[in-house]
């Protein structure tokens, strides 16, 4: 098969404009597909995180945006005393935009010791010492840092919050790369005097063997008659319900991604059909000198696969580069979904290119391989 590689490449080069346009089309489609895939992966990771299954989020009842949920901080102490609770982390959240946005900035204020124990952060630049040593210090997620061009030592202001960038971190949970962590009391004070002693939410870590539903019910029951009633849900459920609108949008975008693949299929198939029609006689000559029909079939499919794979590689690489360097995320009501490149996504992009290439080439190749040589020789 490889002996015919120069023949295959030269045929593509001969119609280089057509080949280039097809490769570009495939690249654009795979770019879109991978991009949408990255959003879906980010969403899946957020809602299906193993740790999220063992964590509850306590929010003020009937409140959805972090700017409107206000819980007394001492609820943490009372929740910690309940059965099945291993720990409670008070979190003050602040966001520049409660609506769905591609450039949402979300601050989470947490006690430093709790931040260190409850989050799996790898501080890539700067350090914990710098964070712990300053009241207005912030650890900035890698995505935000990249998007906003932040580096350790920089001062960053958004709205009424102004922080000193003590470090840039990467998290095992992709969505956290789009967060900025500050000290809890610092963020509370930036919200005004009345915010002191209040938090947006409480994050409850469950003890081994504890039933999430029963613990959540116990928490809500405890504060049912209190000054502020609560709604407690699993972290995954909380994030899913908060992102419900986004889930639908991402689902729709995913359909568009599949639509793009359909377009590539049509595009590459059209190119292959045109290439085959141009060379009906040439293929008959190849068969006359002894090329087996099966080999001719494979040769045509290989041409289609090559074009599609080339476009797929370019599109996938561009998507991975954009995801890696763009630091993009989408957020709604303080919950962010990170778009992060992954090995799985690259493999999927290449696999799909391969499959689309094969599918696009099969029918023209089959028709060519079945054409009678004498009939084909009379054409052209």
């Amino acid at each position: 098969m490889f002996r015919f590689t120069p023949y295959l490449l030269k045929n593509l080069w001969r119609h280089r404009t057509r080949s280039l346009l097809t490769v570009s089309g495939a690249a654009v489609a795979l770019f879109v597909f991978c991009f949408v895939g990255a959003v879906q992966e980010g969403l899946d990771q957020l809602t299906g995180d193993r740790q999220a299954e063992r964590t509850l989020v306590v929010f003020q009842e009937n409140r959805f945006c972090p700017t409107t949920s206000r819980l007394p901080q001492d609820y943490a102490r009372r929740i910690a005393a309940l059965d099945g609770v291993a720990g409670v982390v008070p979190i003050q959240a602040y966001t520049n935009n409660c609506r769905a946005s591609l450039d949402v900035v979300v601050f989470h204020g947490m006690p430093a010791d709790k931040l260190r124990s409850a989050r799996r952060l790898e501080v890539a630049a700067g350090g914990w010492a710098a964070f712990e040593g300053r009241r207005d210090a912030a650890l900035v997620g890698a995505n935000v840092a990249r998007r906003r061009g932040l580096q350790p030592g920089a001062q960053f202001t958004i709205g009424e919050v102004s922080v000193y960038v003590a470090g840039v971190f990467r998290s095992a949970v992709a969505a956290e790369d789009s967060l900025i962590y500050t000290h809890l009391d610092f963020l509370q004070r930036t919200q005004g005097v009345e915010a002191t002693g209040q938090v947006t939410q409480l994050e409850v870590q469950l003890a081994e063997g504890a039933e999430p539903e029963s613990v959540a019910a116990a928490i809500d029951e405890t504060f049912h008659a209190g000054p502020v009633a609560t709604t407690t849900r699993g972290k995954g459920v909380f994030q899913t319900s908060t992102l419900a609108d986004l889930v639908d949008l991402v689902g729709f975008a995913r359909l568009l991604g599949y639509g793009c693949l359909g377009l590539v299929l049509a595009l590459v198939a059209t190119t292959t059909v045109m290439a085959v029609q141009d060379r009906v006689r040439q293929h008959a000559v190849l068969e006359t000198i002894g090329l087996r029909p099966g080999r001719l079939f494979r040769l045509i499919v290989a041409e289609s696969v090559l074009v599609c794979l080339l476009g797929g590689v370019v599109g996938t690489l561009l998507a991975l580069a954009a995801l890696e360097w763009g630091g993009l995320s989408v957020g709604v009501e303080g919950i962010t979904v990170a778009f992060r490149p992954s090995l799985h996504l690259s493999a999927l992009g290449l696999l799909i290119s391969l499959l689309v290439g094969i599918l696009a080439g099969v029918i023209p190749a089959w028709q060519t391989a079945r054409t009678r040589i004498v009939d084909a020789l009379r054409q052209g």
Partner: protein, 258 residues
């Protein structure tokens, strides 16, 4: 024993409601090293016979045995393998692959055979030398004249050292002078290299270069007798068996090509 034995070969075509029979119980034998020309009016079935012998068309009945193999019994893939190893085909319209150089066009049939790159290079060089095109190795078909293109086509047909070469109107698209050069080349390949050939033509002068001339009419081979001494064709002395060559390049043909 003849190299080619065609026995009771019949081929029908359907044209609307009419059934045409271009070949009707045809019998023919071609000896090893023989050069046979086949003439006949348009639609007489000469190209059909050539295509059946080349294994690119199927007969309705009858047998074609080449070098002991009944090719009518071979499956499509096996028949392709047989063509690669045993058949050289010279087309009227050259049919070179436009994206490939002279060298690559000639090398094509060898890519289908189990052969090392060095062996392929050697064989292509010999074939190009035989047709006098060693100075056009890197040229593309569009950079060649009609005669040169046909010589590349001939080199492609002989490069695998096939048992038989079939030529379908090999001079049909060429001017008189170039046609003469190609006729000489074919004669020489037959006379000096002992290549067995069956050539279809409608030109009596071209047919005359063959050692035996046949005619096909109404589905039958009408004449199978050896031809009289060939008439002078394009400067070649009549019936010499070892013609002189007008093309000085062609005189460089290596001895013992096979």
């Amino acid at each position: 024993m003849a190299l080619v034995e065609i026995h009771r070969l019949t081929k029908h075509y359907r044209k609307g409601d009419e059934v045409l029979t271009p070949l009707d119980d045809v019998d023919l034998e071609i000896d090893r090293g023989e050069f046979v020309s086949l003439m006949g009016p348009s639609g007489s079935g000469k190209s059909t016979l050539l295509n059946l012998l080349a294994g690119i068309d199927r007969a309705d009945s009858g047998r074609i045995v080449v070098n002991g193999t009944d090719i009518t019994q071979l499956a499509r893939g096996t028949l392709a393998d047989w063509r690669a190893a045993h058949l050289g085909y010279i087309f009227q319209t050259h049919n070179l692959v436009p994206v490939l150089t002279t060298y690559e066009n000639v090398e094509l049939p060898l890519l289908l055979l189990p052969m090392s790159r060095a062996e392929r290079r050697k064989r292509v060089a010999l074939a190009l030398e035989a047709v006098g095109l060693t100075d056009r190795v890197s040229h593309y078909p569009r950079q060649l004249s009609g005669g040169q293109e046909q010589r590349v086509g001939i080199a492609r047909a002989i490069v695998a050292h096939p048992a038989i070469i079939v030529a379908d109107e090999p001079t049909g698209n060429l001017d008189a002078e170039t046609s003469g050069q190609i006729q000489l080349l074919l004669q020489r390949l037959n006379a000096e290299l002992g290549m067995t050939m069956l050539m279809v033509t409608h030109d009596a002068d071209v047919a005359a270069i063959a050692g035996r001339q046949l005619r096909l009419e109404r589905g039958k081979v009408l004449s199978g007798a050896p031809a009289e001494e060939p008439r002078e064709a394009a400067g070649g002395p009549a019936g010499s068996g070892r013609p002189h060559f007008a093309n000085p390049q062609a005189d460089d043909c290596p001895q013992g090509f096979e």
